[in-house]
């Protein structure tokens, strides 16, 4: 077991939204950890419960600091778990299950879980069991396809979830295979839904004193973002395909090559005014006077040619230079940022999108707060993501008031692995 690093006492009393709300966080991978991290950033006390015997895949995946693998070295896990206390429990063992129940009964307001449906039941940590002892408990669970139904126990993750939920099929080019969006997009649609449901339940509990069980299916949450094209199929029989960067009511509307290697800028011209301003910035070259490009209908009809002409101009500029010039002239444009560009982006830096915290093994590295700012109760990233089992001693001693002997027994039995 690692030597626990006791958290510093907070100095001045800050106003924090979820001050006093206590969350036992049994989640892993993307959705649950991020939602509970946001709760922690808004003032909830979150204890993240995990195990060395079945490590979170994000702990054992790239990116590792300096390419050196290690269970505490991945920025993937770190980003999703800052500001939480971390304990390790081998929940396959009855002693560990008992300890988890003790934590819930004596301490927690909320249980969050992201295991396959049925696993928490096996450990005696299901809502029906827990509510008997703690009727006002909120238990929120998330999984790829929900708790019930034939497919509920099918294993999965967001990298295939994005395809199941319909996003891959409509990303890319009409003459090519689907371009599966990089990352696990369905996770990132689902976690804010999970957060919203949890806060609604907390508000409801404040008013009524009643807890409840909530389940969030990643598939069902994600489909909210495709509702109109789904209705288009149901009502009109039209199945949406891939259209690259085209848009029915704008031209030029695309991503154009710029100066440099793999450098691009998005330009989206909707109105006549924007078109005139765009032409003016280009210096009103001869081709823009061609009657085929004078109207939106004309530009849509000759869009391939239009795109080639636009690109013969954009290729002379860097994306940021082009974006600045076009935006100043009132034309919607945006540099296509890669990871490096995102970190340099002026607006994101102005806004405080990046917060550097000193992690005991990774060193100083970048974390991100929620994308909303509350004027009176600002978020706070209180500590870096925990090393595995970092706060075992703090949680067992300080929160659960367990004796050294009890802890030694658990250690000897392997329950804290």
């Amino acid at each position: 077991m690692r030597t626990p690093r006791l958290p510093k006492k907070r100095q001045a009393k800050k106003r924090r939204v979820f001050e006093g709300v206590k969350i036992a966080d049994f989640t892993w991978l993307g959705v649950g950890p991020i939602a509970m991290k946001f709760m922690a950033n808004l003032g909830a006390t979150v204890i993240h419960i995990e195990s060395q015997t079945r490590p979170d895949i994000t702990r054992v995946s790239f990116p590792y600091k300096d390419f050196q693998a290690g269970i505490n070295r991945s920025g993937f896990f770190a980003l999703y778990n800052d500001s939480k206390y971390g304990i390790s429990l081998n929940l396959k063992m009855p002693q560990a299950q008992k300890l988890a129940r003790k934590l819930i009964y004596e301490w927690a307001d909320v249980v969050a879980d992201a295991h396959l449906p049925g696993i928490m039941d096996k450990w005696g940590l299901d809502y029906e069991t827990l509510r008997k002892e703690k009727p006002d408990l909120i238990h929120i669970a998330t999984s790829l396809q929900g708790k019930t139904g034939s497919y509920s126990k099918m294993p999965g993750h967001g990298i295939v979830g994005v395809s199941l939920a319909g996003f891959s099929e409509i990303t890319g080019w009409p003459d090519r295979e689907p371009a599966v969006p990089t990352g696990a997009l369905s996770d990132f649609i689902t976690f804010p839904h999970m957060l919203t449901a949890l806060i609604a339940a907390l508000i409801y509990r404040r008013k009524t004193g009643r807890g409840q069980y909530i389940e969030v299916s990643q598939l069902e949450a994600s489909l909210q973002f495709l509702a109109p094209p789904i209705m288009d199929y149901m009502i009109n029989g039209q199945i949406m395909g891939r259209v690259g960067n085209r848009c029915t009511n704008a031209a030029p509307h695309g991503i154009y090559r710029c100066l440099g290697n793999d450098k691009w800028c998005a330009i989206a011209v909707f109105t006549d005014q924007e078109w005139h301003d765009f032409c003016r910035v280009m210096g009103n070259p001869e081709w823009t006077k061609d009657h085929r490009f004078a109207t939106l209908l004309g530009r849509k009809e000759n869009e391939d040619e239009l795109d080639a002409l636009v690109e013969s101009w954009t290729i002379n500029f860097s994306p940021v230079e082009l974006m600045n010039t076009l935006q100043k002239a009132g034309v919607p444009a945006g540099a296509v940022h890669n990871g490096e560009d995102l970190l340099a982006d002026q607006q994101l830096n102005h806004r405080g999108t990046y917060v550097t915290l000193e992690h005991p093994e990774i060193g100083p590295h970048i974390y991100q707060p929620p994308p909303f700012r509350l004027s009176k109760t600002p978020h706070e990233l209180t500590m870096p993501a925990p090393c595995l089992g970092q706060h075992n001693e703090y949680v067992l001693k300080e929160i659960l008031s367990m004796s050294d002997e009890e802890i030694a027994d658990l250690l000897a039995a392997g329950a804290l692995e």
């Binding site: 001050e19 990116p63 600091k65 920025g75 980003l79 929900g146 019930t148 034939s150 509920s152 295939v160 395809s163 319909g166 090519r176 295979e177 689907p178 371009a179 599966v180 969006p181 990089t182 990352g183 990132f188 804010p192 919203t196 806060i199 609604a200 907390l202 508000i203 008013k207 409840q212 069980y213 389940e215 299916s217 069902e220 489909l223 909210q224 495709l226 109109p228 209705m231 009502i235 009109n236 949406m240 891939r242 960067n245 704008a250 695309g254 998005a266 989206a268 919607p332 945006g334 540099a335 002026q346 607006q347 102005h350 590295h365 970048i366 994308p371 909303f372 700012r373 509350l374 009176k376």
Partner: protein
């Protein structure tokens, strides 16, 4: 506080007692839909000719018409609508009257617009200190880009999504159905409810500032950490991903479309590969997996390091998988994947989603009455299932100004004569 009068409600919807004034267009309407379906009394405040985003397709029976936009329908369920021109002096006054009895205002105007009308957060909080105002904008309320325009494509680009989407021999691209402001609205709903929770504790309202760009950045998984820790820029790879050195497919062609599957090593492969290879063996299609036909889960963890595979090895395996998958449909593969416990899913089309067995079994889809059309329309159902309090679509999206009389006469006490005057003056 405004909500006190409605505190006695015993309905089981979490947000039943709260009133929301929704001034958004497509730059934020998802936020208020979330609140409305959770039971809040949401009043959409539209310009006298209707919200311009009523012109966004697709349309019911392909009839372009402001009352037929499926986009507008989908994201304005459970709301009521009044028309009001807040730029007029009477309009501003009426809006302030509504704010007195409201709990939340959601808006998506350019930063500073409401301040110039004397209707910004500072002014409204003087009328009602408990009011929460949520502002959803492309870049947030302050900063160098705050006045810039950012339609979806620009948001995708500046939020980092475009760079990692599409084929690597073509320009980066976006998802063909706009997503950026749905992400912003989704986060705005969380931020609004956080402020509401705090108000329950403290009695104080506050201003919630949501940035679309920053919301899109929160979809990137770990793109920023890859640069921060390893100076590596994640890039787009079409149907493949770079996993370590080789490129691996994450979508494979099959008989009638594509399925999502990845070989990988470690835990993921240990689940999927043994049962898949067994199935291939049964059909005499082992191909490059001949030597692994007796491997169990442990072998895949111990013998295959996904990060150290060679491209030749991956290509050989994928070649055999493509041959095998080509003999089966998406549905056949998915049903067997369920039976045999393989992490394989369809690359769903909109039709596949409507036909999806799991969604049907869970009663996901809900029917909503459209009395003016004389029919029920099927909508996407709950994003979360709650036992103690319920989610539900209480009514179809409103017609333009459908609830003018209900609100202006019934609630604010205007006479029919006032209504005529306000209509003629272009206020409502």
């Amino acid at each position: 506080m405004a909500h006190k009068t409605r505190d006695n409600a015993t309905d089981d919807k979490a947000l039943k007692v709260y009133r929301v004034l929704d001034l958004t267009d497509d730059g934020g309407m998802y936020c208020a839909k979330v609140l409305a379906d959770l039971g809040a009394d949401v009043i959409k405040i539209e310009k006298p000719n209707g919200d311009p985003s009523r012109n966004i397709g697709p349309f019911y029976k392909n009839m372009p018409h402001p009352e037929r936009s499926l986009f507008w329908w989908a994201y304005n369920t459970s709301k009521r609508s009044i028309t009001l021109n807040i730029e007029t002096s009477d309009g501003g006054k009426i809006f302030k009257k509504l704010v007195k009895n409201a709990d939340i205002v959601v808006e998506s105007f350019h930063p500073g617009y409401l301040d110039r009308l004397g209707l910004g957060y500072a002014a409204l909080s003087e009328i009602n200190p408990a009011i929460i105002m949520t502002s959803i904008t492309p870049f947030g309320q302050t900063g160098p880009y705050k006045d810039w325009k950012a339609p979806d494509l620009v948001g995708c680009a500046l939020g980092g999504q475009a760079f990692v989407m599409g084929d690597d021999d073509r320009p980066p691209c976006r998802i063909s159905f706009p997503q950026a402001y749905l992400h912003a609205g989704n986060h705005a709903a969380s931020g609004t409810l956080a402020a509401l929770y705090y108000r329950e504790v403290s009695g104080e309202g506050q201003h919630v500032d949501v940035s679309m760009q920053e919301s899109v950045v929160w979809t990137l998984m770990n793109v920023i950490q890859f640069w921060d820790l390893m100076k590596f820029n994640m890039f787009r790879g079409g149907a493949t991903r770079q996993m370590g050195t080789p490129r691996c497919r994450v979508a494979f062609p099959c008989k009638d479309g594509h399925v999502a599957f990845l070989i990988a090593g470690g835990q993921l492969a240990s689940i999927s590969m043994p049962p898949l290879i067994k199935w291939m063996a049964e059909e005499g299609m082992l191909g490059a997996f001949e030597t692994m036909k007796d491997w169990g889960p442990k072998d895949w963890i111990e013998k295959v390091d996904a990060w150290a595979l060679t491209q030749e090895q991956v290509d050989a395996w994928e070649g055999s998988l493509i041959k095998f998958f080509a003999t089966k449909t998406k549905r056949e593969l998915y049903e067997e994947a369920l039976r045999r416990r393989i992490i394989l899913y369809p690359v769903s089309t909109m039709k596949d989603l409507v036909d999806n067995a799991q969604l049907k079994e869970r009663d996901f889809w809900v029917k909503v009455g459209h009395p003016d059309l004389g029919e029920d329309i099927t909508y996407a159902g709950a994003p979360y299932k709650m036992a103690g309090l319920s989610w539900g679509i209480s009514r179809r999206a409103p017609l333009i100004g459908e609830h003018n009389e209900e609100i202006y006469i019934g609630e604010l006490g205007f006479s029919e004569k006032d209504m005529r005057l306000l209509k003629e003056a272009g206020v409502i």
